[in-house]
C-alpha cells in the first residue's frame, strides 16, 4: 500500500515536471502573454487610480493597495490560468480520452498535476514581468508583516488548485455537450467578474459580495490571494481567507469526482 502511494506520488510529480517543461518551451508565447498582461495592468491601474483620485480610496483600498492589487492580479491571471488552452474537451470529442483513461493514473489527478507544473512555470515568468513593471512604474504597496509572504504563497497554490478542479469540471461537460464553447463562455464571464479581476469585489454591494464569497468559488481564484497580499483586514482575516480556499479546494475536487463518475458512464468506445 505504502509502495503504491509512493509510486503514485512519483508519477504525479513527474507529470507536474512535464507540465513545467512543456510550458518552458513556449518561450514566444510566454513573452507575448507577459506583454499583454502588462498593457492590461496599465489600463486597469490608471482606471482604478483615477477613481481613487476623487475619494482618496476605493472600497477601503488605498491607492498603493490598488496598484498592488492590479499588477499582482495581472501576474496571477496566468498562474491561476482561468482561460488557458484546453485539450481535454477536444480529446473527449474525438474519443482520444479513452487512451488517457487506460493509463494507470487517475484522469483528474493527472490533469491537476500537469496544471500545477504549468502554474509553477508561470509563477517564474508570467507573474514576474507585470509585477516588476508595476513596482517600477507605480507606488506599490508592499506587505508590512513578513508572515504575509508565505501566507500569500499558500493562497496562490490553493487558488491554482481550485481553478484547476473547476476547469476540469468545465472540460468534462464535453461528455454531454461535445462542443463546450458555450459552457466555456459562461465560465469566462463568471470567473472574470466574480473573482475581482475587473474590479476589487468590495466595490459591489455587501450582500452580493457575501453571496460571491460563500456561494461561489470565484473569489478564491484571485480576490483571496490579493486580499492576503495587500493585508486587507490583517493576518487574521488572511488566515480566514486561506481557510475558505481550503474548503473550496475540497468542494471543487469532490464535485469533479462526482461529475467524472457520471461522465464516464456515458463513455462508449466504438470499435475494438
Amino acid at each position: 500500500m505504502a509502495g503504491t502511494i509512493a509510486s503514485g506520488t512519483r508519477v504525479l510529480v513527474a507529470l507536474a515536471g512535464a507540465g513545467f517543461r512543456r510550458y518552458a518551451t513556449y518561450r514566444q508565447a510566454t513573452i507575448a502573454g507577459a506583454f499583454t498582461n502588462t498593457v492590461f495592468g496599465f489600463v486597469r491601474c490608471y482606471i482604478l487610480l483615477s477613481v481613487a483620485d476623487v475619494t482618496g480610496d476605493v472600497a477601503g483600498y488605498a491607492p498603493g493597495q490598488l496598484v498592488t492589487f492590479v499588477w499582482v492580479g495581472q501576474g496571477l491571471l496566468a498562474v491561476v490560468n482561468y482561460w488557458g488552452q484546453q485539450e481535454l474537451p477536444e480529446r473527449v470529442r474525438s474519443g482520444e480520452v479513452v487512451s488517457d483513461l487506460l493509463r494507470p493514473v487517475d484522469l483528474m489527478a493527472g490533469f491537476i498535476a500537469a496544471d500545477v507544473g504549468r502554474a509553477g512555470h508561470a509563477m517564474l515568468t508570467r507573474f514576474v514581468v507585470p509585477v516588476v513593471v508595476g513596482l517600477l512604474a507605480f507606488d506599490f504597496y508592499l506587505p508590512a508583516h513578513p508572515q504575509t509572504y508565505p501566507l500569500f504563497a499558500v493562497s496562490v497554490l490553493l487558488a491554482v488548485l481550485v481553478c484547476s478542479a473547476c476547469r476540469y469540471v468545465v472540460s468534462l461537460t464535453a461528455f454531454w455537450l461535445l462542443d463546450i464553447r458555450g459552457v466555456l463562455m459562461v465560465w469566462v464571464v463568471c470567473s472574470g467578474a466574480g473573482s475581482g479581476l475587473y474590479f476589487p469585489l468590495p466595490v459591489l454591494p455587501d450582500w452580493l459580495v457575501t453571496v460571491l464569497w460563500v456561494g461561489t468559488p470565484f473569489p478564491a481564484l484571485l480576490q483571496a490571494p490579493l486580499d492576503v497580499l495587500v493585508e486587507r483586514g490583517g493576518t487574521g482575516h488572511g488566515l480566514a481567507l486561506v481557510a475558505g480556499q481550503v474548503a473550496w479546494v475540497l468542494v471543487a475536487i469532490g464535485m469533479a469526482r462526482v461529475v467524472q463518475r457520471r461522465a464516464l458512464t456515458r463513455l462508449v468506445i466504438q470499435g475494438g
Binding site: Y26, Y46, S50, R181, V189, Y198
Partner: protein, 264 residues
C-alpha cells in the same frame, strides 16, 4: 455560380449552428461578456459618481461608441486572429493556392455568427447613450454620430489585421495583438483623462485610440479636450480610421511577401 465568399460564409454559419445548445449559450454568453464591460464602467463610476472628470451620461456615450465599433470589427475581421494557427499547421499554404484573396478567405473561413449578438447589443447601448447624453445636435454632429462607430470599427479592424500579420514572423504572437485589440477596446471606452503619463501619450494619441470614441464624443457634446488636443482633431476619426486601415493593409502585404511555409 454564387459568390464563393458567400458560399464559404454560409458553410461556416451552418457548421457553427449545428451544436444548438452550445451555440445558444455561446451567443448569450458572448453578449453578456460585452455587457460585463458596461457593468465594470458602471460599478467603477458608481464609486464616486464620475470618471476622469466626466459625468455618467458623458461616459456612457464614450462607452457606447466603443461598444458599437468594436463588435462590428470583431464580427467582420476578428477571425484573422486564426492566422497563426494556419501558419503553424501549414493550412495557409492551401489558402494561398486558392484563386481568392487570402485576407478575404481568412475573414470568411472562421466567421463567427455568435458575434452578431454583440453588435446588436453595442448598437443598443449607443442609441440609449445618444438619447441620454446632452448631445449638441447639428448637421455635422449628426453625420459624426453615424460615422464615428464605423470609423472606430475600421480602426479596430485594422488593428486586428495588423496584429494577425505579426504571425508571419512570430507565430506565437497572438497575445501581443490581444493587448492592442481587447486592451485597445478598454482604453477607447474610457475618457483619456483617466490615463496618465507616457501610457496615455502612447496609446491615446500615438496609436490613436483617443480617436475611436473620446474625441468624437467631445465633439458631440460640444466640449473641448481638457488635455488640450486641438478642436479640429475631434472630427478626424474617419480620417484616422482610413489611415490606419491603409497602413494595416500595407503591413499585411509585406507580411505575405515574407511568408515562408513551415515546410512540414
Amino acid at each position: 455560380m454564387a459568390n464563393p465568399y458567400l458560399q464559404l460564409l454560409a458553410a461556416q454559419v451552418r457548421s457553427q449552428t449545428q451544436y444548438r445548445v452550445s451555440f445558444a449559450i455561446d451567443l448569450v454568453g458572448s453578449t453578456v461578456l460585452t455587457g460585463l464591460d458596461l457593468v465594470t464602467v458602471w460599478v467603477l463610476f458608481g464609486v464616486n459618481g464620475s470618471l476622469g472628470g466626466f459625468g455618467g451620461r458623458e461616459v456612457l456615450l464614450m462607452v457606447g461608441v466603443a461598444a458599437a465599433a468594436f463588435p462590428i470589427a470583431d464580427l467582420a475581421v476578428g477571425n484573422v486572429e486564426k492566422l497563426r494557427v494556419y501558419v503553424r499547421s501549414g493550412l495557409f499554404d492551401a489558402v494561398l493556392l486558392r484563386p481568392l484573396s487570402s485576407l478575404g478567405q481568412l475573414v470568411v473561413m472562421d466567421f463567427a455568427p455568435r458575434r452578431v449578438g454583440r453588435v446588436l447589443q453595442g448598437c443598443a447601448i449607443y442609441v440609449v447613450a445618444l438619447v441620454a447624453a446632452p448631445v449638441q445636435w447639428s448637421t455635422p454632429v449628426a453625420v459624426l454620430v453615424v460615422f464615428a462607430p464605423l470609423a472606430g470599427a475600421m480602426f479596430f479592424g485594422a488593428i486586428f489585421v495588423a496584429g494577425a500579420t505579426v504571425a508571419f514572423w512570430w507565430i506565437d504572437s497572438g497575445e501581443i495583438s490581444n493587448a492592442f485589440t481587447y486592451g485597445g477596446k478598454d482604453v477607447a471606452a474610457y475618457p483619456m483623462t483617466v490615463f496618465g503619463g507616457l501610457f496615455r501619450r502612447l496609446f491615446a494619441y500615438g496609436l490613436g485610440f483617443a480617436f475611436v470614441s473620446y474625441l468624437p464624443v467631445l465633439a458631440m457634446l460640444g466640449r473641448s479636450d481638457p488635455l488640450g488636443a486641438p478642436d479640429v482633431l475631434r472630427w478626424c476619426s474617419p480620417l484616422t480610421g482610413l489611415l490606419v486601415a491603409v497602413l494595416a493593409g500595407l503591413f499585411w502585404r509585406t507580411g505575405i511577401r515574407h511568408y515562408r511555409s513551415t515546410g512540414s
